[in-house]
């Protein structure tokens, strides 16, 4: 895959950088939708709900699944034009966007300790993203 000559970058909707941003947004939206859907059909008392299968009863969950598929297809397209060692570290911005989205859209209470933990994870991922992308290219 990495031996292919880089094609001329298309513009407009097909621009791979735009698709990268869209892929990240789709992941963010899908995570929020899955959480909303899970909240809707939550049944903490039942043992079966640990398997998560009852989540399929919520339309929000199905919409979340659709966004996951969309983000994955977009990601495959991005990787045709942008090397994984660049695309993967950039995509890690979603790890900041998701907790922010939880705070803004879902109104979750995030204690200082949790913010610190999230910050450490984000810094660690930023450090590690490029080497891991190199490893994944070998796979």
């Amino acid at each position: 895959m990495t031996n292919q000559p880089k094609r001329n970058r298309p513009s407009g909707f097909a621009n791979p950088w735009l698709q990268l941003a869209l892929s990240v947004l789709c992941v963010l939206v899908s995570e929020l939708l899955l959480k909303c859907g899970a909240n809707d059909i939550a049944d903490p008392s039942s043992v079966w709900s640990w398997t998560g299968i009852n989540g399929l009863a919520s339309p929000l969950v199905w919409l979340g699944i659709a966004f996951v598929i969309a983000s994955f297809l977009s990601w495959l397209y991005v990787l045709k034009y942008i090397p994984l060692t660049i695309a993967f570290p950039l995509s890690r911005v979603v790890d900041i966007l998701v907790p922010l989205g939880c705070w803004i859209f879902l109104g979750e209470f995030i204690s200082t300790r949790r913010w610190c933990g999230i910050a450490l994870v984000v810094i660690g991922l930023a450090l590690v993203a490029k080497p891991v992308a190199r490893i994944e290219e070998r796979l």
Partner: protein
């Protein structure tokens, strides 16, 4: 990828790996859905950093990748962050 052009037996191994991967991802998805019914997303989401650590550890073992200082420090930061989140 070159393996898929060789004999049918190698093709079967490739397909079984892809199917195995998809099966594991499906199981992971449903378990996450079950967990989301009980915990906040901001609590669960940082744990995905664990998968990055596991990838680098397995790469060190199976692909003989070097565990550079950058990787080790990053992995330690991620682990510390996850411990903090789990305590919050």
């Amino acid at each position: 990828m070159e393996n898929t052009q060789k004999s049918g037996f190698r093709n079967l191994r490739f397909i079984s790996r892809v199917v195995g991967g998809i099966a594991l991802m499906t199981i992971s998805f449903f378990l996450t859905l079950g967990l989301l019914q009980r915990f906040d997303l901001s609590y669960l989401y940082p744990f995905q950093g664990l998968s990055v650590i596991i990838i680098s550890l397995m790469a060190a073992v199976m692909l003989k990748e070097k565990l550079t200082l950058q990787l080790t420090i990053g992995a330690l930061l991620i682990s510390a962050g996850i411990v903090l989140v789990s305590l919050s």
